[in-house]
Protein backbone atom coordinates (compact mmCIF):
# COMPACT_ATOMS: atom_id res chain seq x y z
CA UNK A 1 0.00 0.00 0.00
CA UNK A 2 1.45 3.36 -1.07
CA UNK A 3 1.34 6.32 1.29
CA UNK A 4 -0.52 9.30 -0.11
CA UNK A 5 0.84 12.60 1.18
CA UNK A 6 -0.59 16.02 0.39
CA UNK A 7 1.75 16.48 -2.57
CA UNK A 8 0.68 13.22 -4.25
CA UNK A 9 -2.94 14.09 -3.48
CA UNK A 10 -2.54 17.47 -5.19
CA UNK A 11 -0.58 15.93 -8.08
CA UNK A 12 -3.30 13.38 -8.81
CA UNK A 13 -6.08 15.95 -8.59
CA UNK A 14 -4.15 18.20 -10.98
CA UNK A 15 -3.45 15.29 -13.33
CA UNK A 16 -7.14 14.32 -13.51
CA UNK A 17 -8.28 17.90 -14.10
CA UNK A 18 -5.63 18.52 -16.76
CA UNK A 19 -6.44 15.23 -18.46
CA UNK A 20 -10.15 15.97 -18.83
CA UNK A 21 -9.52 19.59 -19.84
CA UNK A 22 -7.15 18.43 -22.58
CA UNK A 23 -9.15 15.41 -23.78
CA UNK A 24 -12.48 17.22 -23.75
CA UNK A 25 -11.13 20.49 -25.12
CA UNK A 26 -12.51 22.36 -22.13
CA UNK A 27 -11.20 25.27 -20.08
CA UNK A 28 -9.78 23.74 -16.90
CA UNK A 29 -11.16 26.69 -14.91
CA UNK A 30 -14.68 25.53 -15.79
CA UNK A 31 -14.14 22.08 -14.30
CA UNK A 32 -15.23 21.36 -10.73
CA UNK A 33 -15.46 18.17 -8.69
CA UNK A 34 -19.19 17.87 -9.49
CA UNK A 35 -18.72 18.09 -13.28
CA UNK A 36 -20.45 15.07 -14.80
CA UNK A 37 -18.02 13.31 -17.15
CA UNK A 38 -20.56 11.68 -19.44
CA UNK A 39 -23.29 14.30 -19.58
CA UNK A 40 -21.20 17.47 -19.49
CA UNK A 41 -17.89 16.37 -21.04
CA UNK A 42 -19.06 13.55 -23.34
CA UNK A 43 -16.52 11.23 -21.73
CA UNK A 44 -16.53 7.44 -21.97
CA UNK A 45 -14.78 4.26 -20.86
CA UNK A 46 -11.88 4.67 -23.30
CA UNK A 47 -11.16 8.03 -21.75
CA UNK A 48 -11.10 6.53 -18.26
CA UNK A 49 -8.78 3.77 -19.47
CA UNK A 50 -6.49 6.34 -21.07
CA UNK A 51 -6.28 8.15 -17.74
CA UNK A 52 -5.57 4.86 -16.01
CA UNK A 53 -2.73 4.23 -18.46
CA UNK A 54 -1.15 7.60 -17.58
CA UNK A 55 -1.50 6.88 -13.86
CA UNK A 56 -0.13 3.36 -14.31
CA UNK A 57 3.00 4.66 -15.99
CA UNK A 58 3.52 7.56 -13.58
CA UNK A 59 3.14 5.49 -10.40
CA UNK A 60 4.34 2.14 -11.80
CA UNK A 61 1.06 0.41 -10.92
CA UNK A 62 -0.29 -2.99 -11.76
CA UNK A 63 -4.06 -3.21 -11.70
CA UNK A 64 -6.46 -5.57 -13.45
CA UNK A 65 -9.50 -4.28 -15.30
CA UNK A 66 -11.59 -7.00 -13.68
CA UNK A 67 -10.73 -5.55 -10.28
CA UNK A 68 -11.42 -1.99 -11.37
CA UNK A 69 -14.69 -3.06 -12.99
CA UNK A 70 -15.91 -4.74 -9.82
CA UNK A 71 -15.08 -1.64 -7.82
CA UNK A 72 -16.91 0.60 -10.31
CA UNK A 73 -19.99 -1.62 -10.10
CA UNK A 74 -20.11 -0.91 -6.38
CA UNK A 75 -19.17 2.72 -6.65
CA UNK A 76 -19.56 4.26 -10.11
CA UNK A 77 -17.32 7.21 -11.03
CA UNK A 78 -19.59 9.73 -12.72
CA UNK A 79 -17.99 13.05 -11.79
CA UNK A 80 -14.47 14.44 -11.91
CA UNK A 81 -14.41 14.33 -8.11
CA UNK A 82 -15.33 10.62 -8.24
CA UNK A 83 -12.46 9.96 -10.66
CA UNK A 84 -10.00 11.85 -8.44
CA UNK A 85 -11.13 9.71 -5.47
CA UNK A 86 -10.92 6.54 -7.60
CA UNK A 87 -7.43 7.41 -8.84
CA UNK A 88 -6.20 8.07 -5.30
CA UNK A 89 -7.57 4.67 -4.23
CA UNK A 90 -5.88 2.94 -7.17
CA UNK A 91 -2.53 4.54 -6.38
CA UNK A 92 -2.91 3.76 -2.68
CA UNK A 93 -4.38 0.26 -2.80
CA UNK A 94 -3.72 -1.13 -6.30
CA UNK A 95 -5.55 -4.42 -6.84
CA UNK A 96 -6.79 -4.43 -3.22
CA UNK A 97 -9.22 -1.71 -4.23
CA UNK A 98 -12.00 -4.26 -4.67
CA UNK A 99 -11.77 -5.32 -1.01
CA UNK A 100 -12.23 -1.83 0.37
CA UNK A 101 -15.33 -1.02 2.38
CA UNK A 102 -17.46 1.41 0.40
Amino acid sequence: MAEIDQKINDDIKGLVYEFFAEECDTDIAKLVDSTNIIEELEGDSLMLLSLLEIVRKKYNLKIELKTLGKHLMKKPATTIGDVVTLTLKIVKHGDNIVNLDM
Partner: protein, 156 residues
Protein backbone atom coordinates in the same frame (compact mmCIF):
# COMPACT_ATOMS: atom_id res chain seq x y z
CA UNK B 1 -30.90 -21.34 -37.29
CA UNK B 2 -34.42 -21.18 -38.70
CA UNK B 3 -37.55 -19.70 -37.24
CA UNK B 4 -40.95 -20.98 -38.34
CA UNK B 5 -44.09 -18.99 -38.92
CA UNK B 6 -45.26 -20.00 -35.45
CA UNK B 7 -42.23 -18.28 -33.92
CA UNK B 8 -40.77 -21.54 -32.68
CA UNK B 9 -37.09 -22.18 -33.25
CA UNK B 10 -35.49 -25.45 -34.27
CA UNK B 11 -31.96 -24.40 -33.45
CA UNK B 12 -29.85 -26.35 -30.95
CA UNK B 13 -28.41 -23.07 -29.65
CA UNK B 14 -30.09 -20.05 -28.13
CA UNK B 15 -28.84 -16.50 -28.21
CA UNK B 16 -28.40 -15.49 -24.59
CA UNK B 17 -26.78 -12.11 -25.04
CA UNK B 18 -25.78 -9.40 -27.47
CA UNK B 19 -23.24 -6.65 -26.85
CA UNK B 20 -22.48 -3.74 -29.16
CA UNK B 21 -19.75 -1.13 -29.02
CA UNK B 22 -18.67 1.56 -31.46
CA UNK B 23 -15.61 3.83 -31.39
CA UNK B 24 -13.97 6.46 -33.56
CA UNK B 25 -10.86 5.12 -35.30
CA UNK B 26 -9.21 8.53 -34.87
CA UNK B 27 -8.92 8.00 -31.12
CA UNK B 28 -6.50 5.11 -31.61
CA UNK B 29 -4.10 6.88 -33.97
CA UNK B 30 -2.08 8.17 -31.00
CA UNK B 31 -0.97 4.58 -30.22
CA UNK B 32 -0.05 3.58 -33.79
CA UNK B 33 3.67 4.14 -33.21
CA UNK B 34 3.76 3.57 -29.46
CA UNK B 35 6.10 0.97 -27.92
CA UNK B 36 4.42 -2.39 -27.30
CA UNK B 37 4.09 -1.77 -23.56
CA UNK B 38 1.12 0.59 -23.87
CA UNK B 39 -2.27 -0.43 -22.43
CA UNK B 40 -1.07 -3.77 -20.99
CA UNK B 41 -4.41 -4.17 -19.21
CA UNK B 42 -6.38 -3.79 -22.47
CA UNK B 43 -4.40 -5.34 -25.35
CA UNK B 44 -2.12 -8.38 -25.35
CA UNK B 45 1.32 -8.06 -26.91
CA UNK B 46 0.21 -10.41 -29.68
CA UNK B 47 -2.69 -8.10 -30.53
CA UNK B 48 -0.48 -5.02 -30.54
CA UNK B 49 2.15 -6.76 -32.67
CA UNK B 50 -0.55 -7.85 -35.11
CA UNK B 51 -1.93 -4.32 -35.37
CA UNK B 52 1.52 -2.98 -36.21
CA UNK B 53 1.54 -5.24 -39.28
CA UNK B 54 -1.62 -3.59 -40.61
CA UNK B 55 -1.55 -0.69 -43.07
CA UNK B 56 -3.57 1.29 -40.55
CA UNK B 57 -2.84 -0.04 -37.04
CA UNK B 58 -5.47 2.27 -35.53
CA UNK B 59 -8.20 0.30 -37.30
CA UNK B 60 -6.98 -2.94 -35.75
CA UNK B 61 -6.71 -1.41 -32.29
CA UNK B 62 -10.17 0.13 -32.64
CA UNK B 63 -11.75 -3.14 -33.77
CA UNK B 64 -10.07 -5.04 -30.96
CA UNK B 65 -11.16 -2.52 -28.34
CA UNK B 66 -14.75 -2.50 -29.61
CA UNK B 67 -14.83 -6.31 -29.45
CA UNK B 68 -13.59 -6.34 -25.85
CA UNK B 69 -16.12 -3.69 -24.84
CA UNK B 70 -18.93 -5.49 -26.66
CA UNK B 71 -18.00 -8.75 -24.92
CA UNK B 72 -18.10 -6.90 -21.58
CA UNK B 73 -21.72 -5.98 -22.32
CA UNK B 74 -22.56 -9.66 -22.86
CA UNK B 75 -20.90 -11.01 -19.73
CA UNK B 76 -22.62 -10.74 -16.34
CA UNK B 77 -19.53 -9.40 -14.56
CA UNK B 78 -16.30 -7.51 -15.33
CA UNK B 79 -13.43 -9.43 -16.92
CA UNK B 80 -9.84 -8.73 -17.84
CA UNK B 81 -9.75 -7.40 -21.39
CA UNK B 82 -6.55 -9.34 -22.04
CA UNK B 83 -8.59 -12.56 -21.66
CA UNK B 84 -10.16 -11.71 -25.02
CA UNK B 85 -8.11 -11.32 -28.18
CA UNK B 86 -9.24 -9.99 -31.53
CA UNK B 87 -7.03 -9.88 -34.60
CA UNK B 88 -8.48 -7.62 -37.27
CA UNK B 89 -8.18 -8.21 -41.00
CA UNK B 90 -9.68 -6.29 -43.92
CA UNK B 91 -10.97 -9.69 -45.01
CA UNK B 92 -13.79 -10.50 -42.54
CA UNK B 93 -13.11 -14.21 -42.98
CA UNK B 94 -9.59 -13.73 -41.63
CA UNK B 95 -10.52 -11.85 -38.46
CA UNK B 96 -9.74 -13.99 -35.41
CA UNK B 97 -11.48 -13.90 -32.04
CA UNK B 98 -10.56 -15.95 -29.01
CA UNK B 99 -11.03 -15.95 -25.25
CA UNK B 100 -8.72 -17.44 -22.65
CA UNK B 101 -9.42 -20.83 -21.09
CA UNK B 102 -9.84 -19.10 -17.75
CA UNK B 103 -12.58 -16.82 -19.05
CA UNK B 104 -14.24 -19.67 -20.96
CA UNK B 105 -14.35 -21.77 -17.79
CA UNK B 106 -16.21 -18.98 -15.97
CA UNK B 107 -19.08 -19.25 -18.45
CA UNK B 108 -19.18 -22.87 -19.64
CA UNK B 109 -21.34 -23.94 -22.60
CA UNK B 110 -21.35 -20.40 -23.98
CA UNK B 111 -19.94 -19.71 -27.42
CA UNK B 112 -19.48 -16.34 -29.06
CA UNK B 113 -19.60 -14.80 -32.51
CA UNK B 114 -18.19 -11.40 -33.47
CA UNK B 115 -19.27 -9.17 -36.34
CA UNK B 116 -17.17 -6.11 -37.20
CA UNK B 117 -18.68 -3.23 -39.13
CA UNK B 118 -17.12 0.00 -40.31
CA UNK B 119 -18.89 3.15 -41.35
CA UNK B 120 -19.31 6.86 -40.92
CA UNK B 121 -21.82 8.32 -38.50
CA UNK B 122 -23.71 11.43 -39.47
CA UNK B 123 -24.02 12.67 -35.88
CA UNK B 124 -21.88 15.58 -34.77
CA UNK B 125 -18.49 14.56 -33.52
CA UNK B 126 -17.88 14.46 -29.79
CA UNK B 127 -15.54 17.08 -28.34
CA UNK B 128 -12.78 14.59 -27.57
CA UNK B 129 -12.87 13.22 -31.12
CA UNK B 130 -12.52 16.65 -32.66
CA UNK B 131 -9.53 17.12 -30.41
CA UNK B 132 -7.98 13.84 -31.55
CA UNK B 133 -8.46 14.75 -35.19
CA UNK B 134 -6.82 18.13 -34.70
CA UNK B 135 -3.90 16.57 -32.85
CA UNK B 136 -2.83 14.25 -35.65
CA UNK B 137 -1.72 14.99 -39.17
CA UNK B 138 -3.82 12.08 -40.39
CA UNK B 139 -6.74 12.91 -42.64
CA UNK B 140 -10.18 12.26 -41.22
CA UNK B 141 -11.35 8.75 -42.00
CA UNK B 142 -14.05 8.44 -44.58
CA UNK B 143 -15.21 5.44 -42.61
CA UNK B 144 -14.40 6.81 -39.20
CA UNK B 145 -16.14 4.28 -36.94
CA UNK B 146 -15.66 0.63 -36.13
CA UNK B 147 -18.49 -1.28 -34.52
CA UNK B 148 -18.31 -4.72 -32.91
CA UNK B 149 -21.35 -6.89 -32.29
CA UNK B 150 -20.80 -9.87 -30.02
CA UNK B 151 -23.47 -12.55 -29.69
CA UNK B 152 -23.37 -15.19 -26.97
CA UNK B 153 -24.98 -18.57 -27.61
CA UNK B 154 -25.80 -21.43 -25.27
CA UNK B 155 -26.40 -25.01 -26.33
CA UNK B 156 -29.87 -26.29 -25.43
Amino acid sequence: MTTSLTWTCSSCVRCVGCGIDSEHIDRFVQWENAPLDFFPFVFTKKEKSHCKTLVHPAIGLCASFCTKEALQKVLPEPYNFTDCEFFYSDDPQKCKFSISRQLASCFPDISYTVKILSGAFLEKKAKHTRKMSNRTSQPLWTKNHMTAIVHAFKAV
